[in-house]
Symmetry: C2
Subunit: 157 residues, 2 copies
DNA sequence: CCAAGTGGTGGACAGATTGACCAGCGAATT
DNA sequence: AATTCGCTGGTCAATCTGTCCACCACTTGG
């Protein structure tokens, strides 16, 4: 279930240089190609590695503004709200959380002005009682996983 | 700068089946291989596609608990706090947002109990005045980009 | 109206990589 | 002591990659 040190090195290597293939990875890691192949298969069927999808930058697509919104949902409207938000492309993710606000989502928009349109579309729905939005100004730590992978690999050394 | 319809189809195709190569993609899209290669190169040098890093699931690594924390920062301590949080593997991303010295981060932990340890580590730092945490219960819309890509491609049809 | 530039096509080539095997070996388990 | 497991180092044919090329259609500037 957990990953060992070799798994960790493999993931870190793939994260740093995704273009290399199995053969090159085996050379870098100093193990046989079959081993890398087996490890990769295992990691993928384990679900540790979900895939190798392209990492698309919303800013480069023309959506440079990111915001987080906390939504308060009317009792029993959860499913409807989920469906509604799932249909809005600018909603990049949605979570239900503990606490006052019942849901929490990440939004992108073409500009600050455009963000207003997105928010109107998000909250323009019956089940949503209230929304509060925080606009992202800087992103000192972009979404990352490598430090966690390294720690997880350490734990099983 | 913006992407056209073919770019959109290419990205969607790669997102759905990352294992296919340039040749197979050109077959699926009904265009010449050179075209796909040129588009891919352009998308990558544009920064639209940042890379093809492995998509690692924290839950499968042993960190099934996700939480979001809002942090209030003491004036002038921003840089220190950034450095501190950057050193915590369980901090998967960090943003500074509108509002008075507010920051916002995504955390993972091995369990609800472990989350307490993580939070203690996060807030156990001088520059942080206050923190409020929301634990994620469900994730109806996992982080996604395809709907946005499709919309962006539509806009330039 | 012509010329240049851009982007796509279809084809070629050698070289590298892949997926699928195999037998052997050491360590851990039973 | 026998078995199982994971890794090694090797082979094989098939495929894909990177890099050329000439050609064509379309747009843009002169």
């Amino acid at each position: 279930m957990a990953i060992d040190h070799l798994d960790g090195r493999l993931i870190v290597l793939l994260a740093r240089e995704p273009r290399i293939g199995v053969l090159e990875a085996s050379r870098r890691l100093g193990v046989a190609r079959g081993t890398v192949q087996a490890r990769l298969d295992r990691l993928q069927s384990n679900g540790v590695i979900r895939g190798f999808g392209p990492d698309v930058d919303p800013a480069a697509l023309g959506y440079p503004v990111t915001a987080f919104a906390t939504l308060e949902i009317k009792q029993g409207q959860g499913a409807d709200v989920r469906a509604h938000l799932g249909g809005v492309p600018e909603v990049l993710e949605l979570h239900t959380t503990t606490g006052h606000g019942d849901m929490f989502c990440r939004l992108v928009a073409r500009s600050n002005a455009d963000l207003q349109r997105v928010i109107d579309r998000v909250v323009g729905f019956d089940g949503i009682v209230r929304a509060s939005t925080a606009i992202v100004m800087e992103n000192p730590v972009p979404l990352r996983i490598i430090p966690l992978v390294e720690q997880a690999a350490q734990d099983t050394d």
